[in-house]
Structures are given as C-alpha cells and as structure tokens.
Amino acid sequence: MTAAALGDGRTATQDLVRAGAASTVGFDKVSVAYRGAVVLKPLTLEVAAGEILAMIGPSGSGKTTALRAVAGFVRPVSGRIRVGGTDVTDLPPYERGLAMVVQNYALFPHMRVADNVAFGLRARGAARTLIESRVDDALGVVGMRTFRKRYPRELSGGQQQRVAIARALAVRPRVLLLDEPLSALDAQIRRSMVEEIARLHADLPDLTILYVTHDQSEALTLADRIAILKDGALCAVGRTADLYRRPPNRFAAEFLGRANLLPVVIEDDRSVGGMVAVRAGADRLLVAGDGAPAGTRRLLCVRPQHLTLTAELGYSNRIGGRLRQVHWQGELTHLVAEVGDSLVRIVATRLPALPERGGAVDMFFAPGDASLIPEEAGV
C-alpha cells in the first residue's frame, strides 16, 4: 500500500496511517512514580529501528511501566521519550503513531474481527478503500482472513492473539508495543505463537518491537537485544546471545537462564588464550578471564545444560560434588548436586543410566562455556 492510496485532505493524524518506516525508541533518564513511589528509576535506553528489544524482569521490576510510558499511558516525572527522533513525552497516546498488543488482547467484543482490525484506521479517518485493503493485508499476515466475520468470543485464545496483532499491524505503527502478549495462552500454543511472531518480524524487518515479558524463553527466542530490569532499574542490557553467554551480574545470570553460580578465587591471572585459572574449593578450573588480578573473588557462571556427567572432548574442567536430586522428565533429566555450600543444577539430554542420589558425582564443562562475574551483592 502506498501513500497515494490515501484519500485527499489528509490530516496529521492520517499521515500516521502511512507511517511504517522503522523508528527508533529512546528513553532519556525516564523516571515514573505513582503517588511519590518511584516505580521506574531513571532509565536510559535506545532501541534501534527494526529491532526487537525484550524487556524482562520479575513482577514489579518496572518493565510494563516503561512500556506504558512509551505508549503514553503513564507520564514520566522526569526524562524524555523519543520515538523516531521525535520527543513524544508530552503527546497523548493517540498522536504517537504506535500500536499495542496486551496480555488479554483487548479485542472489542462488540465488533467483528474485521471491524476490530479496521478500528485504528477508522479512528484515524483513513479512506474506505485503504481500510479494506489494510484489513485484508493484516488478516492475511496472521492467517485469519477467513475469520473476518466472527466475533472475538467465537475465536480461540491463539486466534484472538493473531487478530490483536493484525489490528496493531493494520495501522502501520512506528513501533509495536507487546505487553506480555502470550502469557494468557497455554504452553503449547505459546510456543507456536513465539514462532509466528518470529516469522512475522522476518516478514516485516523494519518493524521496531518493544516486547515486555517475564518469560525468558520468549525473550531469548525473539529478541535481538534484551534489557533486564529489577526493582525499577535497568540491571543489564545487551545482545541476546552475549547477555546469555556473558551475563554482567548475578541477577542477569540467574534470571536469564537460571545459571549456576559458584564462588571462586582467581588463582592465576596470567591469561593463556584468554583463559585464567580459578579455584573452586578443591578444584582448579580454567575459564575466560575478566581482567581481575589474582586473589580476586568472583562467581563462576556456568549454565545447567553446559555441564555433563562424562568427560567429553573439550570438557576439560571438572567439579566434584554430591548428587542430591534426580528428576527424569523424558527427553531431559534435571539433576542437582551439592558443591561446597552451593547447589549446582545440571540438565542432561542423554544419560546411559540414572545416577544414584547421594553418590559422588563429577561434572565437566568446557572453559569457553563459563564466565566470571563480580560477586557484589544487590544485582
């Protein structure tokens, strides 16, 4: 659809209809408070055009508040919000050119699917031909063309979610805001919807998406970058794979992927191929160094699925422990071992036989699969 398809006499708001160019989102020290209680501490964050940025964190971390500030539903007590380089902090939500999908979809129950999808365009005064074309396109993108005459109550949860996305896409938003859009779905449908959203973004690579979720697997699957929030503050931000492999702090390591964290002391800071020697109890290990001198206390971060119970090629680090729990779950086996005062979780995909609880166990991992993070409390 081109701008020429719009009717004559367009208003500024109507121009938003044709806006579809990728837009950046910028938080400049944005802080939000409710009746004096700060729920979002000064947040500075940039979302690149066409990027999916997932904001994750536990309840009360401020992720939804940050999203609502972009949408214009809450007004920051300080700081500025930019969309596509334009300061939108003082603009009402209907002038920001965004679209949002919320947890319960909020499809208008008194409107049919096609009317729901057309809502934003009608609200912006788009021409009838444009509306028909856009509704058809949007429903086609989410595979819901044949459902256009149905009411929302006649659709399943997954179908409602698709319609909600179509409604958001129909207005060609500058930025798509997704507020826990899959959390009302059961696990199986959620997995397939994550794949659909990934496909959707592949089809619409210019679409900037701010995705709020508490589900780390959604964030890991979809996001180009992840921002982790805790207690109203940005705790970590980075490219998804980097953040997963090299979490900058304890909270990021535990929240994103539930990493094992073992206290270690750097024994030898002479880097060999980027690796330094650390001591974890009786075990001497080689891991990627972080530049800290010998004697520094650190937390060794290693993911449960990077640990094996058999010495394989390249898995040169060994930690000794005692097996406390064994949970067989079909294709996966979850094990918990005691190492000193710490508990280490292992996720094994194949085991020749289930090990005995209470027995000694050796766990192996590759030096490249572990990292060191500061031991500071708080984050």
Binding site: F73, Y94, A99, P109, H110, F119, R153, R167
Partner: protein, 267 residues
C-alpha cells in the same frame, strides 16, 4: 448449594413462595381484582367491569398517563446524560476526589422526596429562577431524585471495564470522543440501559416531590391515583395503578432485551 437435603430445599422453597406471594403478589392481586371490580362489598369483588379502564384511557386519566411518560422519559434522559457524564468525569479524577464527589451525587436520594419537592418549590419561586407552576419543575424534581441511581449504575459499569480496551483504542489512534462513542459506551451499554430503566421506573412511581410541585394540567399517574383513592374512587385508582405497572413493566422488559442483545455479542 446451600441446602443439601431434599426436605430442607422443600422447606426453603415453601418459605420463599409464601414470602413472595404475601409480600409481592397479594397486594398486586388485590389491586388487579379491584381494577376490574364493579362492586366489592365482601371478601371478593362481586362484579366484573372494564369501565375503570375505559375511563382511564380518556380525559384526565389519559393525560396523567402522558404526563407520567413524558416526565419519566425526560427526567431519565437528563439523569442518564448527567450521571454518565459525572461518572466519566469522576473516573478521571483521583480515587479520593472520585469518592467524595460520588457521595455528593447520592445526597438527594437520602433526602425525603417531599423535602426535595419543598426545597425546589422554595428555591425556584422567585425570578430569575421562577419555575414554580411549570412542567419543568416536575421534571427537575424527578431528575434530582433519580440522578443518583443513573450515576451509580454507570459508575459500576465503568468500574468493571478493564482499562485495556480504552488504552488499546487510544494507542491505535482513537481520540477521546471517538473512543467514548465506539468503545467505552458500547462496552458499558448494559449498565447504561439498566440505569435508564431504573430511573424511569423510579420516576413513574414518584409521588412525594411531585405532589409538592406539580402544576395544574400536569398530573402524573401517582398523583392521579392518590387523588382518586383520596376521594374514595378506589376502583379507578386501581385501574390507573395497573396501567402504571403495565407501562413501566413493558418499557423495562423492552429495555432489558437491549443489553441482552449487546451481551450476546460479547466474549
């Protein structure tokens, strides 16, 4: 199920039937019988006639039906508009303001209707606010008495409306007026219709304030019924009462179907 045993349920149903029969149905049955009675000298009426209804359809009684309907509709529409406006406006305020102003809206319903009538009579008997002796003061009295119920119903509907609908609409580009017309009001339509129905029913039965302010030529049904029974014409009063009940029930049943139709399209 609160009562599990068969005998217990039978007992509860019997008590409920007796209560409903004695408290609700018996008075109505007596009025219904009286409205068709030619004479009533014993325990039961001794003759059947439609004369009271024939008389009710003409002359002063017919005017009373019109006056009641016109007053009820006008006052209910005004109450609905102001109640909806107030409920929407107060929702946008903080909870403390909303609660305080909301209580103020209910004050007239706590004042005896006769006192409301008296107050209006005194307040609007001097220029430039001279409404004494006009139809407007009757409508105003009804409006004052019923507006709290319109406000309460619409407020309840708005309180139950998840904010997501309006927020999503707003984010999609809907300005406040468009959002109100296309999203908010349709979603609270059952409450709006219920508010109108309740206001109308209350207005149709209002007597206390009306007898204080009604002008000649604008006698509502309750005033006419009161006048007839006061003069001893109980049978004509009963016929008018049944007409009042019939008109009110017909409108309420008709209104009840509207939210059902709207709700049928809901998820």
């Amino acid at each position: 199920m609160l009562v599990w045993s068969r005998s217990g349920r039978f007992l509860v149903w019997t008590v409920a039937a007796l209560l409903i029969g004695v408290v609700f149905l018996a008075p109505l049955a007596v009025i219904l019988a009286a409205s068709f009675a030619a004479q009533w000298n014993g325990a039961l009426p001794s003759g059947f006639t439609l004369e009271h209804y024939r008389a009710a359809g003409t002359g002063a009684s017919g005017d009373a039906v019109f006056a009641s309907l016109a007053t009820g509709v006008a006052a209910s529409v005004l109450a609905l508009l102001s109640g909806t406006w107030a409920a929407l406006a107060l929702r946008a305020q903080g909870p403390a303001w909303s609660r305080t102003l909301g209580i103020l809206f209910f004050v007239p319903s706590a004042v005896p209707s006769v006192s409301v009538g008296l107050g209006l009579l005194v307040a609007f008997s001097q220029r430039p606010l001279l409404l004494n002796g006009t139809t407007a003061i009757v409508i105003l009295a009804h409006f004052v008495l019923i507006s709290a119920f319109s406000f309460g119903n619409v407020s309840a509907g708005l309180a139950r409306l998840p904010p997501d609908f309006e927020e999503v609409a707003s984010c999609l580009g809907a300005r406040p007026a468009y959002r109100l017309a296309k999203v908010t009001l349709p979603l609270i339509a059952p409450y709006v219709v219920a508010a109108f129905g309740l206001s109308f029913a209350l207005s149709m039965g209002e007597l206390g304030a009306t007898v204080m302010v009604y002008p000649p030529g604008w006698v509502t049904l309750p005033v006419a019924i009161f006048g007839l029974t006061d003069r001893g014409d109980v049978f004509s009063g009963a016929a008018l009462t049944m007409i009042l009940v019939g008109v009110t029930l017909t409108l309420l049943i008709g209104l009840e179907r509207l939210p059902i139709a709207a709700a049928g399209r809901r998820g």
